[in-house]
């Protein structure tokens, strides 16, 4: 057991970045599943803002994934392909009841991703370990992604407030 939040090795860092990729793949896959899962009449009624939110979330996650994959590549490791995660989502997916359910799930996605990157940044900053990749580049990448996740939380919250 390891007490204290810090990342102390390349292996640990790689694993955490791989988890980040899976979280992004989950957002992408669940957003696609949400749109497909709604009954046709409900799908038509999903207003443009929600549809746009889901499409943007999926696109943004794909970009985040690429940024993380570039780091993982330099650590000479591999990531789990999107298709594999999509299949796992497919196997366990329980569609939300309605559009509000979709929005709550999307909010949970964004909040979880934000929390993950925030903890990861703290754990890297708390460590004086030297990694095989440039520390500044690593942190800059993670700061950027965390900021976009924070904006994502705000966007979903705004849409939820408008619908309330």
């Amino acid at each position: 057991m390891s007490l204290g939040q810090r990342v102390s090795s390349d292996n640990q860092l790689t694993r955490l970045l791989q988890i980040g990729v899976v979280l992004e793949e989950l957002v992408e896959s669940r957003a696609a599943h949400h749109l497909d899962s709604l009954p046709p009449d409900e799908r038509a009624a999903v207003d443009e803002a929600v549809r746009e939110l889901l499409v943007c979330a999926a696109e943004e996650s794909a970009v985040h994934r690429e940024r993380l994959e570039a780091l993982i590549d330099d650590l000479e490791a591999e990531t789990v392909p999107y298709e594999e995660i999509n299949m796992l989502v497919d196997a366990q997916y329980g569609p939300p009841e309605d559009t509000d359910g979709v929005l709550y799930d999307q909010l949970a996605n964004e909040e979880t991703a934000y929390k993950f990157y925030d903890d990861l940044i703290d754990a890297i900053e708390a460590s004086d370990a030297e990694f095989a990749i440039d520390r500044d580049r690593l942190l800059e990448t993670l700061y950027g992604i965390r900021e976009e996740e924070r904006e994502g939380v705000e966007e979903v919250t705004e849409i939820m407030e408008q619908r309330a």
């Binding site: 057991m1 390891s2 007490l3 204290g4 939040q5 810090r6 990342v7 090795s9 292996n11 640990q12 694993r15 955490l16 791989q18 988890i19 899976v22 979280l23 989950l26 669940r30 789990v80 995660i85 796992l88 989502v89 196997a91 366990q92 949970a108 996605n109 909040e111 979880t112 929390k115 993950f116 903890d119 990861l120 754990a123």
Partner: protein
């Protein structure tokens, strides 16, 4: 998972291994810290009503402590199962131990949406083997 939750989980597992109160020595071994650190944290957890401590016997979780330890163990099981089944990590036990302090329970909940976890989790966690007894592990250490 924060340090307090890691301690509660360790006490829960030590109580199962020892079939009684968790001794300071066992906890120090499980957590890889000094007995003095264990005693200090036990005192704090006792003040928060999560642990009862009896001198020369050891620490026992209160009902509230058991609930929190249960949740912490569930989070740990998710991390282990995710590492073994999704990332196909051979040394999933060692790596789960190294990662648990950085993985929050909300993150674990998300990862839980793609792993097939038994409904009786975490009762099927084997404290001696340090992984779920229902996690089928092949010769390479990965889950089947």
């Amino acid at each position: 998972m924060n340090t307090a939750d890691q301690y509660l989980k360790a006490i829960y597992l030590a109580q199962r291994i020892e079939e009684g109160p968790a001794s300071t020595g066992t906890l120090a071994d499980l957590l890889d810290v000094s007995p003095a650190s264990v005693n200090e944290m036990i005192g704090k957890l006792e003040e928060r009503g999560l642990v009862d401590h009896e001198k020369y016997k050891g620490a026992s979780l209160t009902d509230e402590g058991i609930e929190r330890a249960h949740n912490a163990l569930q989070t740990y099981c998710i991390i282990e199962r995710f590492l073994a089944n999704v990332l196909e990590v051979e040394e999933f036990r060692d790596e789960a131990r190294a990662l648990e302090s950085v993985i929050d329970d909300t993150v674990a909940e998300r990862l839980d949406t793609i792993i097939n976890r038994p409904s009786d989790c975490p009762d099927c966690f084997d404290p001696e083997l340090d992984y779920c007894e229902r996690l089928e592990v092949g010769p390479d250490g990965c889950a089947d």
